[in-house]
């Protein structure tokens, strides 16, 4: 999940929903989409700004681990594919920033919040891409998890968010497949190449499961988000879906999922899986993952280095519109 632990704000105890909020909830229950100009409770607006901007930041920061391999892709074909994929991530970030802006926050404010550390992005992008196989594992597992989360969001209650999700999901399927395709090549290659794929799976498996966020028992904001239909399945439901879908895919590759407790549970009709190290997750969220500082430093540098260029484009646009006015006079 690209948005983790989104705060839904706190309701003042004993404070009943007022009439407008009741009407609003009724519209959501009836499946009517909320559009930017419609009245909405302040908490709904703020929660969505947090959720959508966190999602957007994840797309943008998510370019970095893979972008790291563009110049080192093993063939021109893989390089072209990876370039297209990373460009898509930028596009996804832009669709989402636009959706968040319809709620009344400016683009610059969101960028500032990312750089200052006020806004979060998904914990998963704070892990390093050590080998080429990691790029495949990200497409397969990370984009796979993202799709799992994003497909239901195509039906979420906020119109601009749901429309952005529809565009993103269409493109995301390519991301997952190119990752799996890359791992198929490695697994059919030399023993060393297959080992490289196994090593990537070993390192990305658990962080991918953590992407869905804390267990349901510990997700304090889930209930409100579900009521507002900006979250349609719980963290554990989505995580289970991910495990069930991925185990046969790993078997096909001939890779072993690094979980000794993983086994099919015929009674439940699902795979049981081992305990997740939540301490690691919270540590990464707090900013102490392997790459947190590097990721934000890279984003800030790109923003700062581009400042003169952004300004130059504005100066050019001003000059052109002035000369147009003069010509018209």
């Amino acid at each position: 999940m690209y948005a983790q632990m989104v705060d839904t704000g706190t309701r003042v105890a004993g404070n009943e929903l007022d009439a407008a909020e009741v009407r609003f909830q009724k519209r959501i229950d009836d499946g009517i989409r909320v559009e930017p100009q419609d009245w909405m409770p302040d908490r709904y607006r703020k929660t969505l700004i947090r959720q959508i901007s966190q999602h957007a930041h994840s797309e943008i920061v998510g370019q970095l681990p893979e972008g790291n391999w563009i110049t080192r892709a093993p063939s021109l074909k893989r390089k072209a594919i990876l370039l297209a994929k990373v460009q898509d991530e930028a596009g996804h970030g832009l669709y989402l920033y636009s959706a968040a802006e319809t709620l009344g926050i400016s683009r610059d404010q969101m960028v500032d919040d990312l750089h200052s550390g006020k806004a979060k992005y998904s914990s998963i992008f704070n892990y390093p891409t050590l080998t080429w196989a990691d790029v495949g594992a990200i497409g397969w597992l990370v984009d796979g998890s993202a799709i799992m989360n994003q497909i239901p969001l195509c039906r979420c209650s906020y119109g601009p968010y749901s429309r952005a999700m529809i565009r993103v999901c269409k493109e995301e399927a390519f991301h997952m497949r190119q990752g799996y395709d890359m791992l198929m090549s490695l697994c059919r290659g030399t023993p060393e190449q297959k080992q490289m794929a196994q090593d990537a799976l070993n390192r990305w498996w658990w962080p991918s499961l953590m992407m869905f966020g804390p267990p349901d028992a510990d997700s304090v904001h889930s209930e409100q988000s579900k009521q507002w239909k900006i979250k349609l399945f719980t963290n554990d439901e989505l995580r289970q879906k991910m495990v069930d879908q991925t185990v046969p895919q790993a078997e096909y590759l001939g890779l072993t999922i690094p979980d000794a407790d993983l086994k099919w549970n015929a009674e439940r009709g699902h795979y049981d899986y081992g305990a997740i190290d939540w301490e690691e997750f919270y540590n990464v969220v707090k900013g102490n993952g392997p790459c947190n500082r590097e990721r934000i430093a890279t984003r800030k540098k790109a923003w700062d280095d581009g400042e003169w260029f952004r300004e130059a484009l504005v100066a050019h646009a001003d000059k052109k519109s002035k000369s147009k006015l003069q010509a018209a006079a």
Partner: protein, 94 residues
């Protein structure tokens, strides 16, 4: 200096003969850059053959509060639809 680029609404014509459709928005310093950016953001997979860009600020929109006065009157005018008039089956070409 810090000035945020204007917001533009993007419309794409998907195939010849179809109308431009709103696809989303983006920031750009001028119309030319808005078209360039729209090409990259909204047409990476042959989605379009033509792009319109309009400054968001220049779009006038109806208010959600006006929904009833604007659109309710049409509800009672079912005779505007051809299905309102039952036609004898044996008569052709209607």
């Amino acid at each position: 200096m810090k000035s945020e680029w204007a917001l533009w609404e993007i419309f794409i014509r998907s195939q010849h003969g179809l109308a431009h459709r709103h696809v989303g928005s983006l920031h750009a310093p001028d119309a030319e850059m808005a078209i360039n950016n729209a090409r990259d953001v909204y047409t990476r997979r042959n989605e379009g053959v033509s792009i319109w860009v309009v400054k968001s600020i220049d779009i006038a929109a109806s208010s959600p509060d006006d929904k009833a006065p604007l659109f309710d009157p049409a509800n009672s005018k079912v005779y505007r639809h051809p299905t309102f008039f039952p036609m004898p089956e044996e008569v052709k070409g209607l």
